[in-house]
Symmetry: C2
Subunit: 557 residues, 2 copies
């Protein structure tokens, strides 16, 4: 009976498992890799070249149908180890399913090993073989629970050596690391290490993150972004509809996405809210918190003048990081608290007075303008290193409280005549493990299957790349990009390190431009769009739609 | 161009609008009403009878196919006015569409008027005619934005008279009030008033609320409950999957639903979390906050002992109301603050000391055990009458902080060996305006169409009733229940008033029993179910599934 309970699945889980992800035409048979020209890193070429002597400058690879080969079959089994690294993103399981189907297509005796709970599993030799039975349980479903994920950084030689032991023991030909920018950087370092050591172990990276900040001219989007933004847009649409029905609240919605505002921008394009803050724009214009607050208050007052005392505001999680003034305040707070370990024993009012007595005049003024609850958060909630945890700051409440204060002032001056009642939301964890949309299910499966083809072609230090994603899946292009090609040197923890450049929202790009051209209309009027829940069955027009960001980036009007 | 932007709709909105809701077979042609025996109110029969001399004791009505009638056509137009009252619930638009199609089937010259922003629209003569063009824009979609909703209570004779003016002016034969228990009570009062006055205006109620607390032996469920709980279960499932992938957080999830725990129970049955608090059980067992905290801590510790430092806890919004001890504390706090208007001018620490100095010893002890942030919430956030706003208490944080404290104590005693990191969520507004599930789309359309048949049969003071809801829609039974039949007398704002009895979770009912029999297994193991998003296209098994509550209540195993 216990077993039965464990096996129980929702009807959608059962029906969705039989979906067959679409593969690019190029991957639907024997392939050959066409080599492009030698590549360069995105920046600091000399430094990167020195750090990656064996894997620097490799050519881009593009797979085309091999008309001379009769089948994809290989005489040798192709054993692969797979690792999920970092935060969950919809589609991770399908990457693994794609790898599995790929190596089995090469040779039925190939084996797939999943290292458990992230890179830690490789180091600690904690793994399980992923049999067909296990794989079939997880096709097209969300989550990383098939093998779990973790945040251990794979960057030390001892770790690489420990990993090598189990790799050799299991006869693994290649490791596939599914992760974000840091994990893919580490994949490149690992590839270089094994190549330099001349051991026959390849390393392939797969671009994962809902945040959408792992992209560049070669990687159009990381997987998970599509599903997560569709899920958040479903919820935002529902809140907008509530807002437009009751007509009495301003909803302030914070969205996950780390520093970059890709998620907020995509959700804005999908749902047409009355306001959306884009962190990159705030930074480019050198805006202070007050400037953002004043602009939201302007929109609230303009709607109120027309009797519309309701609206929806989207706020990217990383907003505060884009405000130099806030950064300065936080840095000084960190220093003050570090120098005064007994601070936490003070009474609350004394804490505030103490902080105010220590801050520089400029930061003191800033601290005083913050709502008391937020000011308290800045001094109370600290990470294990004693630092302020930016992600814990309830920016949605911070902004709405400051807007309320501003509106009160405007009311006193006769410049605001309405009501301002608020509700707050934070959408994040709800979207990271959603069942993947058709787009992510297809994209991930192709990324995994393609990773196997890269392994079979002998590649190492490459990222699996599927492109022309705004086209139908069968027309997608498949291949591999040398990871070093995306790197430059950046200052991290006091050292110069090779890293994959994070992509911020491009203020000259089409997605932002469309948003910028529409937002005054969206602010004044009520132009909400209600995307509704992701649909898996029915017309391809509905089930296979891509994100607005991809659509606009690839020429949509 | 502006117009174009306004018209823009998501693909799902466009495709879903052509869904034809399923009608019970009995309503698919000319009907006749079969009268049952005279009815009695649920309690206080003499008092209710006195208050409703003209509408008390009416018979139940059941519609059957009228084999003698050739068509549903009526020579007279049937003009109807409709009002949405109270909080949004998925399906409201379909009730209105059902009424529209019903009166047009009776006579093509019938007109439907929507009173705007709730009962206020009737009183203020603020309305719009709902033409076919408007109706077709809103078929099968969520929200109440077609005519808006409001919370004005329709209970005074002046209001009834004001309403009557516009009703007569527009030639309206009947008013349909779509609302919760209070709004339906007011519908009965209005029906009685017009009947006593001998004006030819009928009043019909429709049972609406996501909370699921408007139900009884005659009304199986209010509309909106099905969709809202499916949406919340989608999100809970996603969070569970995240939880089971990262294996490092306990997620505390508060769910909307006012006092009763129907929503929490339904979501628990759909998603099998590790813990779910049921307010009615807490009350029945006379549990204190500490008892709930201790029980959650017990489950956390048991999982930790097996290395499972993660889990999901569901908490009903109304929990605190079910704790007599918390109610006493809040009542005393309200009194203290009312007697001390200068309280808010004190420093924070002084406020706390002041409150502690005034509270009775018993309540003082309770106040001291609360986490400081919650204790502050209890004294800071007050409604316009100066009362503590229970709905603003972040119960999810209250419980998790108290559990953390308890676990620390257990750790010191060697009874807890794990980690306890938490995340918090509140799901509410996200679900009230979701696009209705097939169940709610069908149920609401049938409720609306059926309301028209009740009007045509001359009924007033009735609630539209569709039953046997666990069966396929074509087999549903349609008819009307005298609203007085559901009433008893209750103490409200210092007076005895006739009200519809609110339904709490029945601890002897099948849904709770299934939960109670499974929960220890769900607590110990990881039995999560991931329902995924509501699907509108594809197999009926998936698209037409009813809630677990209905399924179990109507004999499912």
């Amino acid at each position: 009976m216990d077993i039965l309970k464990f096996k129980q699945k929702s009807i959608l889980q059962q029906l969705r498992s039989s979906y067959q992800p679409k593969l690019p035409a190029a991957l639907q048979g024997p392939v050959k890799a066409v080599e492009g020209a030698a590549t360069q890193s995105a920046g600091d070429q000399e430094d990167i070249k020195k750090l990656f002597p064996c894997t620097y400058g490799l050519p881009e690879l593009t797979f085309v149908r091999d008309e001379n080969a009769a089948s994809i079959h290989s005489d040798e089994p192709c054993n692969v180890g797979v690792i999920l690294s970092g935060g969950q993103a919809p589609g991770g399981h399908n990457v693994i399913c794609g790898i599995f189907d790929g190596i089995k297509a090469l040779n039925e005796n190939s084996r797939l090993y999943g290292f458990l709970m992230g890179p830690e599993g490789l180091i600690e030799h904690d793994y399980k073989e992923l049999t067909r039975e296990i794989i079939d349980e997880y096709r097209n479903c969300g989550g990383f629970d098939m093998i779990g994920s973790g945040r251990t950084k794979l960057e030390k030689h001892e770790q690489f050596e420990k990993g090598l032991e189990i790799i050799m023991q299991l006869g693994i030909k290649a490791i596939v690391i599914i992760g974000g920018d840091d994990s893919n950087t580490n994949a490149a370092v690992l590839a270089e290490y094994y190549k330099a050591k001349n051991v026959p172990v390849q390393v392939i990276g797969v671009p994962k993150t809902i945040d959408g900040d792992l992209k560049n001219e070669k990687v159009e989007i990381s997987f998970g972004f599509d599903t997560a933004t569709k899920l958040y847009s479903e919820l935002i649409g529902n809140v907008e509809r509530d807002c437009n029905s009751a007509k009495k609240y301003w909803h302030f919605i914070k969205l996950m996405g780390r520093s970059a505002s890709h998620i907020a921008l995509e959700c804005a394009l999908q749902t047409q809210p009355n306001y959306c803050v884009i962190g990159e724009e705030v930074a480019a214009k050198g805006m202070y918190l007050d400037d953002v607050v004043n602009d939201i208050a302007r929109v609230v007052a303009a709607r109120a003048a027309k009797g519309r005392n309701y609206g929806t505001v989207l706020i990217p999680e990383g907003l505060v990081e884009f405000m130099p003034a806030m950064r300065k305040l936080i840095d000084e707070l960190n220093d003050i608290l570090a120098e005064n370990p007994n601070f936490s024993k003070l009474h609350l009012d004394e804490q505030r007075d103490f902080v105010l007595s220590k801050l520089s005049p400029e930061n003191k003024r800033r601290f005083e303008t913050l709502p008391p609850t937020v000011a308290r958060q800045l001094t109370l909630d600290r990470d294990p290193h004693g630092n302020v945890q930016l992600s814990l700051i309830e920016t949605e409440k911070l902004l709405s409280e400051m807007v309320a204060k501003k509106l009160q002032k405007m009311k006193d001056e006769g410049r605001f005549v309405g009501k301002f009642k608020t509700q707050h939301h934070f959408f994040g964890y709800e979207g990271r493990c959603a069942d993947p949309s058709n787009f992510d299910a297809d994209y991930c499966y192709a990324l995994g299957f393609n990773a196997t083809m890269l392994i079979n072609a002998g590649a190492t230090g490459y990222m699996s790349a599927i492109r022309h994603l705004a086209k139908p899946a069968t027309e997608w292009e498949a291949g591999g990009i040398p990871i070093t090609m995306m790197m430059n040197m950046e200052h991290r923890n006091g050292k110069q390190k090779p890293v994959i450049k994070k992509a911020l929202v491009d203020l000259n790009g089409k997605p932002f431009q469309v948003f910028a051209n529409s937002r005054e209309l969206w602010a004044k009027e009520t132009c909400y769009i209600y995307p509704g829940p992701i649909q898996y069955f029915g017309s391809p027009e509905m089930c296979d739609q891509t994100s607005c960001t991809l659509y606009y980036e690839q020429g949509g009007k």
